[in-house]
Subunit: 457 residues, 2 copies
């Protein structure tokens, strides 16, 4: 068997930045690396062409009565910029102490390597393991998986024979506490453009005559929240999934320290909807955020202009059962109805993703028809984490979004078991991304135990 | 005598962009051109060094009992960018029909050349004209005249012996209607910076916990106006000079067409303070405008970030008797008091300028102690415009700002007579700037008549 750390170094050396066409060679290298590695473990590898970057589908068949796990991961990484802030070269993996540094070390090359290693070791120990496995490794995760819906439409039948999806592409709060992610927020994104006069105007010659589009934009944006921190759009909270008492109780075990969190963020006051702690709000409540705003003169000094245009980039994080298209429609309706006279409003739709929730077995709200293999996988994960990490995992919804998880659920009915392996200090999407090699080792051991136990009914 | 159009071409060929150090040679060329031209008319020329670009002071002395006129102008021009939008090269003057195109043609090289030509012709006709003249030609007008206060502090005594300032650096609404500008708005500019978290945050991991600085900025900006179009800051309108009935009556003669103005701006509704038409509001009312706004991700597509920072560039146009520093202070106080918890507020002060008003003779509010020479200059201007243009001028306050005018008034007591020569189609500060040569010719004739009449008490 290969050395997982050496293999991870090899993987990181392929600069697989999916969003930048300059990195075509790195993308092809990373894709071939994964395909060859899975091939060397005896998997039948298909490289599925897509509009942008291929998806690797690698399968180990077997008796149709065996459980069937889809293991998801991605071989693409975020851009490494700003390069000046890296202490080691982003595509030259560097081990310092128990950490390996490099772009993609944590997101997702390290965790994916842990899973491939686990499968390799498991099959080496027991070549007859009664488990069907399909690796589904995409190359567009960091660009919003544009080809994934078309892929799913063509390959849904292949996936439908599986029992669950297993992945390590979520976070854990500390090395001591593993989290199995049971919910993800959805996304609805659009740009709002406000136009006043047909051109930028001299603020002396025309100031006092017309509504400045920045003012109109500010008025609209200011109207979208209540002072107490809720989203101020009629119907926004309709159908929002209630928080189960067990979810609050589970979260309470995290012993979140509000003061420490405030210090980490560098703020002196939280701003959460009434009835939710910050730790709850981020997991259980939807948001409307402004990701960017722009208009007029932004340079040094002054330019006394009344700009013609201003814009804001708006995104909503959604919780079950908020439908992204409905949310976009009602937010845009609210904006239209609040736009003052004298300006024109336009929207540019960006992508969206459904929210997702899966309930572990044995909870008051566990679906009665939950698949026995899925239930077994959750129990296996709980047992494996408890053994390997010395402490049971927490089953928590998370604030982030992994839109392909609800996409798979909607298309194939498959739920996902998500084992978190990123630490807060791993600097995902940031300079000096790194991955904890002790976590990696424990990740390998945990995945091995989970996969093994799934086979025992 | 020289041909004024040929001389203007020569002047325009010097690319005298004051704000861009690449144009040092163009600045020196334009400065030498003006100095030499005034020298050739018999003026004693001093080139006064400043921190940035020299000021040309050229004087024709005489008997201390003669009236003394300071003629103001500037030899610097705005940057020509965006170059791609010019139909003729910006620094290669091109005459098409009765218009000359080139950067600075209207602002201020053409009008300044009209005044130099007028003086040249007048002195050629009557070398013994009993009039003292000081040309004061600066090279920093387009960068906010940073050296002017220091210059004034040193040279105030020289100017104090004058009776008035005369300049052609304002606008006229059409070729048929000349305006003598009797008031200018002041300026108070600053940047507002809002900081939330110490770094940009992932909107999934932290969204719902803290106040987005763009939201805080929007709330602050939205609070600064009332729905009916006034500035919503306590004390903002304190002491604002009343509009005299004669001013409204004078303005009414302009026959402003609201629908045509709306079409020109490309808007479908005005937004003016109650009690003021758009034509009145721009002249008689102060404003608070947002010249720019920025924060977070402004590129293509999406980035689901909660930005750490956002900013707005704010400027107030002020009317007499609003003091710029007081206005900045009360607006900033209002912003501080309205800033929500969880964000930090900082201000970066930019420059400011006083508002200005001068009342022509014979009005109900004309100061009783108005200088007889100033009164004579206004009457001379009225008579000259009526003769040359076939219609009396209008005496109107204007919405723009020329901060050196109130600076001169404050330092030396001198008032200004401002004859407008820019037409709306002259594209000041924009591509394809041009100047109407018929207006120039009439400008020469008007200035000649005004200067001549000032000498006859």
């Amino acid at each position: 068997m290969f050395d997982p750390v050496e293999k991870l170094k090899e993987f990181i050396r392929h600069p697989s930045v999916s969003t930048d066409s300059k990195f075509g060679e790195g993308m092809r290298g990373a894709q071939k690396f994964v395909a060859d590695l899975l091939g060397s473990l005896g998997f039948k590898v298909e490289v599925v062409k897509t509009e942008v970057h291929p998806i690797i589908l690698a399968s180990r068949g077997g008796d149709p009565s065996w459980p069937h796990v889809v293991i998801y991961g991605h071989y693409d990484v975020q851009p490494a910029e700003p390069l000046a802030l890296w202490k080691t070269p982003p595509f030259e993996p560097t081990v310092i102490g128990n950490r390996i540094y490099g772009r993609g070390a944590a997101d997702n090359k390290g965790p994916l390597m842990a899973n491939i290693t686990a499968v390799g070791q498991l099959l080496e120990q027991d070549p007859k393991l009664p488990l069907r496995i399909t690796f589904l490794i995409e190359g567009e995760e960091e660009m919003g998986s544009p080809s994934f819906p078309a892929f799913l439409a063509s390959y849904a039948d292949r996936l439908r024979s599986a029992d669950l999806v297993y992945l390590c592409d979520t976070a854990l709060p500390s090395e001591k506490q593993v989290v199995i992610t049971c919910g993800l927020r959805g996304l609805a994104l659009f740009d709002l453009h406000v136009t006043g006069a047909r051109v930028d105007l001299h603020s002396g010659l025309h100031g006092g005559v017309l509504r400045n589009p920045i003012q109109a934009l500010a008025e609209i944006c200011a109207s979208l929240h209540t002072p107490d921190g809720r989203v101020n759009v009629p119907g926004f909270y309709d159908g929002v999934l209630d928080v189960e008492p067990w979810e609050r109780a589970e979260l309470a075990k995290l012993e979140g320290d509000g003061k420490a969190y405030m210090d980490f963020l560098g703020i002196d006051a939280f701003y959460t909807p009434p009835g939710f702690s910050p730790f709850e709000a981020v997991r259980f409540q939807p948001t409307l955020e402004f990701n960017g705003i722009g208009g007029g003169y932004q340079g040094e000094g002054t330019k006394t202009v009344i700009p013609s245009k201003a814009f804001a980039k708006i995104s909503c994080r959604l919780v079950p059962n908020q439908e992204p298209r409905r949310i976009k429609a009602i937010v845009q309706d609210a904006i239209r109805s609040r736009a003052p006279k004298g300006v024109k409003i336009e929207f540019v739709d960006q992508h969206q993703g459904d929210p997702y929730v899966v309930v572990p077995p044995g909870r008051p709200n566990t679906p009665k028809d939950q698949s026995p293999v899925l239930a077994r996988a959750f129990r296996a994960a709980e047992a494996a984490v408890t053994q390997v990490w010395g402490r049971p995992p927490l089953f928590l919804r998370e604030g982030g979004s992994v839109p392909i998880i609800p996409d798979i659920k909607r298309t194939t009915g498959l739920d996902s078991v998500m084992l978190g392996l990123f630490l807060p200090e791993d600097n995902l999407h940031a300079p000096n991304e790194g991955f904890n090699l002790d976590v990696m080792k424990r990740g390998v051991e945990t995945t091995k135990r989970i996969l093994k136990r799934i086979t025992i009914s």
